[in-house]
């Protein structure tokens, strides 16, 4: 089976004030189709860089990144990508923001409006079609972003701390909703997060990175049953990897 994402011996550095900054050093990682993988590690360790390589927003200095068997050589239009930033166009209403991907693919207006309405129903935002992003709460904007990302049926989702800016209660709600949506669509996900509980609750697999330059320290499979005891053991394991004291 061809992996959804194949990252092979990738190295990436950035020009910094005090010389080059090595973000990733010899990282290899495969993600199977439909797999939900969380990437965790210390702040600024290069997890986001890895995501950007898969998205084709950056290129590796060395090594190879392939998506569904094809080398990634430019913006990867087959993935959905969400960051902490909503990246909604502030002058467009919710409906036109969600329909954006279809507009770019030149889907006729009646069809794209129809599909955007359907997506908004899916994320429980019916009735807000004509609102501007600035008139919505952070959680609602996040759901608009999700609808916009899902509307062009991406092969995979790349998420960089998408729920980081939300308050705890909204975050829990959105996570639950998100999990249900993704499971329903059978979508593969790569999720960068700092929230260990989020990683344990959502993923099939958790990849733990070291501090910069990022190397893979551990690759944890989350048992399908997700018993509270399993999740707690996994959280404790991640906590230890990240240098925390054992509790």
């Amino acid at each position: 089976m061809i992996p959804a994402v194949a990252i092979d011996s990738v190295r990436k550095s950035f020009a910094g004030a005090g010389g080059d900054l090595l973000a990733l050093d010899d990282v290899s990682l495969d993600v199977a189709p439909g797999e939900f993988v969380s990437l965790i590690g210390p702040s600024g360790c290069g997890k986001s860089t890895l995501l950007n390589l898969v998205a084709g927003l950056a290129r590796p200095d060395r090594g190879r990144v392939a998506f569904a068997g094809d080398a990634v050589s430019g913006p990867n239009t087959r993935v959905g990508y969400m960051t902490q930033d909503d990246a909604l166009l502030p002058w467009r209403n919710v409906l036109d923001n969600v329909a954006l991907a279809l507009e770019i693919r030149r889907v006729p207006r009646p069809e794209r409006i129809e599909r955007a309405r359907e997506m908004l129903r899916l994320v429980n935002l019916s009735g807000f079609e004509r609102h501007l992003p600035s008139q919505l709460s952070g959680g609602m904007r996040k759901r608009v972003g999700l609808a916009r990302t899902l509307i062009h049926r991406p092969g995979m989702l790349l998420l960089d701390e998408p729920f980081g800016a939300l308050d705890a209660q909204t975050r829990t709600l959105i996570q639950r909703e998100f999990k249900r949506l993704v499971a329903g669509l059978g979508l593969g996900v790569m999720l960068v997060t700092h929230d260990l509980r989020e990683a344990a609750a959502l993923s099939d697999r958790i990849v733990v990175f070291s501090a910069r330059p990022a190397r893979i320290v551990d690759d944890i499979a989350v048992p399908a049953g997700r018993s509270p005891a399993d999740l707690e053991a996994i959280e404790r394991l991640m906590w230890r990897h990240l240098g925390g004291d054992d509790v």
Binding site: T83, D85, W91, I104
Partner: protein, 257 residues
């Protein structure tokens, strides 16, 4: 005192009073303390203006000036905006062209009138060339700033949807930098009139500038003032029209400068 609805009515009344007082003083002083050959008088200017209005002279010349200003903004502004956006998006291109653009911007554009007359003759083409050259820069700078003001997150998000260049321009950069372009437009409009009228005065062919010049040459101060006042109204009216159109735009929620 000047706040609220009643305040603004008061301000308007005071402004009208100032205008009336100035006109009255002008009328009174003309022929008593000041030479009417030089300063004319409000009533003489009005007589001249109404004669011209009846014959369609003012309308014709104002239209000639107006359309060159518009065409110049469209041509020079469009080119400036596109080039500016390209420069705003590429640090390499910006470094390459910056010294040339700065040098060309520093050159007083009226110095080009003789050159454009040499190239294009004294007709509309040289006026258009001067106006386009003048307005180019305002749109160039606002285009570059507007493009730079677009957050990286928006660029990335859009890039992953696979737009072509035209879509990037119309979906992202034009609306996102809209308030910058508007700022460029606001400065460009008065300067477009500076350019057209400058070219008209020098080449003496058509437009309100040429009308003012030929009447001054004929020692007809009333005609000159009538042309100048029409020009003032035309410039102010055009600027007001731009401001009004901008306020109605659906892109005005874009990032503010």
């Amino acid at each position: 005192m000047f706040e609220g609805r009643r305040g603004s009515v008061l301000v308007l009344l005071i402004q009208l009073g100032l205008v009336a007082a100035t006109l009255a003083l002008w009328e009174f002083a003309s022929g008593r303390f000041l030479d009417p050959m030089l300063v004319s008088s409000p009533t003489a200017i009005w007589r001249q203006a109404s004669r011209w209005l009846v014959r369609g002279v003012l309308q014709r010349e104002a239209l000639a000036t107006f359309w060159i200003a518009c065409a110049g903004i469209l041509l020079g502004g469009g080119a400036g905006l596109l080039f500016g956006i390209a420069v705003g998006l590429s640090r390499r291109l910006a470094a390459l062209v910056e010294p040339f653009v700065n040098a060309a911007f520093a050159l007083p554009k009226v110095a080009l009138i003789p050159l454009f007359v040499l190239w294009f003759g004294t007709g509309d083409m040289q006026k258009l060339a001067l106006t386009a050259t003048t307005t180019f820069f305002f749109f160039f700078f606002s285009g570059a700033e507007g493009a730079r003001s677009v957050p990286q997150a928006l660029r990335d998000a859009l890039a992953l949807l696979g737009p072509d260049r035209r879509q990037l321009l119309f979906i992202l950069y034009l609306p996102a930098g809209f308030s910058w372009f508007l700022a460029g437009m606001r400065t460009a409009v008065p300067y477009a009139f500076v350019a057209v009228v400058g070219a008209e005065v020098v080449s003496s062919t058509g437009g309100l500038g040429a009308l003012a010049k030929s009447n001054a040459a004929a020692m007809n101060a009333s005609g000159m003032f009538a042309a100048i006042l029409t020009l003032t109204l035309l410039g102010a009216g055009t600027s007001a029209l731009v401001a009004w159109a901008a306020g109605r735009s659906r892109w005005r929620a874009g990032a503010a400068p």
